[in-house]
Amino acid sequence: MPAETHVEHTPLGPDEVLGLVRERLAAILEIDEDRITLDARFVEDLEADSLALIELVEELEEELGERTVGFHVDDEDLADLHTVREAVDYVVARLDGGGGATS
């Protein structure tokens, strides 16, 4: 068993996750963060294509993987995430224990 995988971090809540999603998605899509509301739909409202969403997922995994060991988004789940709210809820749920060993 790895001995040095536990790092103390303050748990991330929905507001922090939303902030992270907005920051990263705004940079990827080169749009104003104000457009990225909870109810915004990725494809219809933000014109995010599948490659852009994978870019977002990989950046979230890299950032949040430092907090939750092995944090990972299953590609199969992506098809069910249509809005920013659904994505934030999904990430928060994974951080709470469903997406890796919580540190």
Partner: protein, 334 residues
């Protein structure tokens, strides 16, 4: 002190004829082009194909995953992070290589380049630039040959800006002419996308208006031809099919009678020499425009000669600063 050689990451596992032809091409490139090759693939499959010791300008990089030609691109790049394609793209991102070459799954190469090298600012998705042969002349550049099926006028504007900068860097053109592919030369021709794009492209230096499919493979009308990825891919495949059909007719005639067969002994060598301009193995492959690094996509059936041409193209793009010039063209137009 001499300049360090350009370093090109080569995907040895991608392509219909991989790894044999890719390795053979990479070896030739490492020994004849003065380019350093980082050859990526499963070492146990590559080692028997290589001399011992390796050429001075070649390094073997062991990667365990292999993305197949028919794998779903995004899923493959996500799941197979230790694949030759993904690791090649990472080598460019990290500065270990100046450029990458792959004859593998085009969608996966595109996705890996975007995810690892990143798009440059102002470009929502990359485009594929393909050289279209023009006898006795530098090739035309077709953008987009199939990276993104749908396009907006704003995207076609980006393709024109990047395509023009690429043509300057690649072929040394001072003022490349740029045409919009449509179904007639008049400004009102085309569907809604073409008509709206026509208005936007007026701001691009060198824009000559609409061009037609019959303007491909001819010098004079446009050095760069811009269209959406769907139409571009259809146009490209149509040209390939037409050339194959024409070759079949010509060689059928030459083989028709004893007299024509005798004539063929004289004519065929000249025909084959003249037809080299159409040989996809010699054009150097396609270049991904809009990512922050040089990424050359060689055709799926690449031979060793095609790999050599693609490595040369990659090195030429690095030397010419093609990526920087495209970035500047997009940034200056913003």
């Amino acid at each position: 002190m001499a300049d360090a050689p350009c370093t090109v990451a080569v995907d040895a596992m991608g392509g219909d004829r991989a790894p044999g032809e890719i390795v053979a091409g990479a070896l030739e490139a490492a020994t004849t082009l003065g380019v350093r090759i980082l050859l990526h693939g499963r070492v146990e499959e590559l080692r028997p194909l290589l001399p011992d010791p390796l050429p001075e300008l070649m390094t073997l990089v062991d990667t365990r995953d292999v993305i197949a030609m028919d794998d779903e691109p995004l899923a493959a790049v996500r799941k197979q992070k230790d694949s030759s394609i993904v690791v090649c793209a990472r080598a460019v991102r990290d500065g270990a290589a100046d450029a990458m070459v792959s004859a593998g799954n085009t969608g996966a190469v595109t996705a890996a380049a975007v995810l690892r090298m990143k798009r440059f600012r102002g470009v929502p998705s990359p485009a594929i630039a393909v050289p279209i042969p023009v006898p006795g002349h530098h090739p035309q550049v077709l953008v987009d040959a199939g990276a993104v099926v749908d396009a907006s006028p704003e995207r076609l504007l980006l393709y024109a800006q990047m395509g023009g900068a690429y043509a300057r860097a690649r072929y040394g053109l001072d003022a490349p002419t740029i045409g919009l592919l449509s179904n007639g030369e008049e400004s009102g021709k085309g569907d809604d996308l073409r008509r709206r794009s026509y208005q936007l492209l007026h701001s691009v230096p060198g824009f000559v208006g609409n061009v037609e499919g019959s303007d491909f493979m001819h010098a004079g009308r446009a050095d760069v031809i811009v269209t959406d990825g769907f139409t571009g891919n259809v146009a490209l495949k149509s040209m390939e099919g037409a050339l194959r059909s024409l070759a079949g007719v010509v060689f059928g005639v030459l083989d028709a009678t004893p007299e024509t067969r005798e004539a063929a002994t004289v004519i065929t060598p000249r025909l084959l020499e003249a037809a080299q301009v159409y040989d996809p193995d010699l054009t150097g492959g396609a270049v991904l425009l809009g990512v922050d690094g040089v990424c050359v996509i060689s055709h799926g059936n690449s031979s060793a000669r095609a790999v050599v041409s693609s490595v040369q193209l990659a090195a030429d793009c690095v030397e010419a600063g093609a990526v920087r010039r495209m970035q500047e063209a997009v940034a200056n137009a913003r």
